[in-house]
Symmetry: C2
DNA sequence: GTGTTTGCAAAGTGTTTGCAATTTA
DNA sequence: TAAATTGCAAACACTTTGCAAACAC
């Protein structure tokens, strides 16, 4: 990291810690992506969409690195992967318990907080298996009337 | 369809009706796949797995036709598509209300009957949207102890 | 300096498509 | 015969990988 870069990144030093805590080196690319992902509200991104954003902000990050970083952030618990579409992978910055609305027509995702949706009965895991997660996707389409 | 083929297919005439009712022509390929799909218990297949089965039974069907047929059967309500893995599409012969266990380690799916799992609270659809489905996937992994 | 990370381009995987030949009705 | 369907091969979209150059520590 250059001295200039360090100055530029000063206001984002918590990302630096976040990445270090995850056991990753805080490279320019990882910091840039962390800034996009964790600066504001919770977000849902795909590799393409995040790469597009980075380009728009003149951050130089290759698509391959975006993929790598999303997976590294996922396996270190900074992100969570959401499966709603067989064609692309989504990543959610909200790693807490919650579910999703999926807008099939435009591929958008929004959160459903855990307390807006509750399961009364959950089946026991099959013999010898442990439940890893219970994922609920509410698919919605434009109302046609 | 040849006369010989008609004779061979006599015991499976209900597939013929099923396909015709769906507005599709009962071709050799569609009948063969229907036989594999709907002969016994409910099943979960991928295009590859069904194509493999067809080959094993010496049915001559191309992979492209398997894909086309799975989609046609899905859009005519004979099958239902299940999204559990970003890498491949699954199709379920059980089109009724139910949910799934997904065995992440080997890609297997099993049904959870609707009455083994119930939602107390379902959020209202977002403004202008209608709920198309509520899909629950219980991801399980081998218990490590 | 050593080990990690990046970016490119190539390869990979699962899926769809264009189109001539074949089959169904 | 007209319209639908098939199968191949090529195209496709998304994702992963191999490896030399660049970077972090």
């Amino acid at each position: 990291m250059t001295e200039l870069w360090k100055q530029h990144m000063r206001p984002y030093s918590h990302f630096l810690d976040q990445i270090r805590l995850a056991g990753l080196r805080p490279t320019r690319q990882r910091l840039a992506l962390a800034k996009l992902l964790f600066s504001g509200e919770n977000r849902h991104v795909t590799a393409e969409s995040l790469h597009g954003e980075a380009q728009a902000e003149k951050m130089r990050v290759s698509l391959a690195t975006v993929y790598n970083t999303l997976h590294q952030f996922t396996s270190t618990g900074l992100l969570r992967e959401i499966v709603v579409d067989a064609q692309r992978s989504y990543f959610d910055t909200n790693t807490g318990d919650h579910h999703h609305f999926y807008f099939e027509e435009n591929g958008m995702l929004t959160d459903i907080s855990d307390d807006m949706m509750s399961l009364t009965k959950v089946p026991a895991a099959p013999e010898g298996m442990a439940i890893k997660s219970v994922d609920i996707v509410v698919r919605v389409v434009e109302k046609t009337q």
